[in-house]
Symmetry: C2
């Protein structure tokens, strides 16, 4: 009975929406009912935006970002310093750094981190293309901006070892207390790093 | 800078997805990246399912359910007892009752509850059409299945008063301890109702 209450079209929409991260069957049903109420303002435009995205969006063959052009807008942007290459795990991380708007550099998206238990070795990541880019000579500094997880840091050390012979300066993000963070909620590793690298007023 | 990182098509998709209940800007971005990774299995089909839904889905003029036909499948279903009418606040509540599969009745969706502070009076709800349906004579029992909130219960009493002169039996859902519920977490009103209506083993 449950499968037939609202017609196969609605049921299919619920099932597809439930596959998005952050949505389960219940929230997908709520989302569908919301879409039905906002048919012209939201359901129509969203379907159209998905069609357009499906047709036009590409993965940049240079850096691994997604965009409607290849190379992507960041790789084509002449105002960015091609000498600084920020290496990130995912496009989400690239977006996070771009939203912060802290540096006008280029990126390289690894597509994940080394994780032998999950069968992710160097060949599963965009490491060959990274070496290729760096060996072309224009990169002065490679900022390894991977997550501060065990797999992330393993990957960072692996990349630093690979990059060392190419004569490029390799850096990584600092550890410390997050801005607005409360000491009581931080792990010992973070506190140790923050203490060790304490700075003068 | 933040608005231009990934092209207007992706930004538009993020903004539209962020308007779904349960998704904010951050989870909408995660959803878009997930859609990009699952382009053929998810992005394409989801866009198409939304287009189909936008084209075909109607609100049933009899009961207020949504479906691809009007009257909806429930209103057309001859195996259901037209003598029992379940009055619910929203289509989501109708779906919840149908999923439970407890009764083969007809429904009437109010479209909300009375809420004078929010400007929702009887004219803003599907109450005229409810009176019309009940006065046609085939309804024996009206089950007022609104939420156990203050506004819901106010609406229930209002409807019971309206329905009384029509000679239809009017009932409402029982209060009590939810199945699996722990007494320690229940409010006093629920405990009082559960005690008062206690049943013999």
């Amino acid at each position: 009975m449950a499968e037939r209450i609202a017609g196969p079209e609605i049921e299919r929409l619920v099932q597809l929406l439930a596959r998005l991260p952050g949505l389960g069957p219940r929230s997908a049903r709520r989302a569908v009912l919301h879409l039905m109420r906002k048919r012209e303002e939201l359901l129509g435009p969203l379907g159209e935006a998905m069609r357009v995205a499906h047709e036009r969006i590409l993965t940049c063959t240079t850096c691994g970002n997604i965009d409607t052009s290849d190379p992507c807008a960041i790789c084509r942007d002449g105002r960015r310093d091609a000498g600084i290459l920020v290496i990130v795990e995912t496009v989400a991380d690239l977006w996070a750094l771009e939203r912060a708007g802290l540096l006008a550099a280029r990126y390289h998206v690894l597509g994940g981190v080394l994780s032998p238990l999950d069968g992710v070795g160097p060949n599963e990541l965009n490491i060959a293309s990274l070496m290729q880019r760096v060996s072309e000579g224009s990169v002065r500094e490679a900022i390894i901006a991977v997550n501060a997880t065990v797999d992330g840091q393993t990957t960072a050390h692996y990349l630093a070892d690979l990059l060392a012979p190419l004569g490029v300066k390799t850096t990584r993000l600092a550890h410390g207390v997050p801005v607005g963070g409360e000491l009581d909620y931080l792990d010992e590793g973070t506190l140790a790093a923050a203490l060790e690298r304490r700075t003068a007023f």
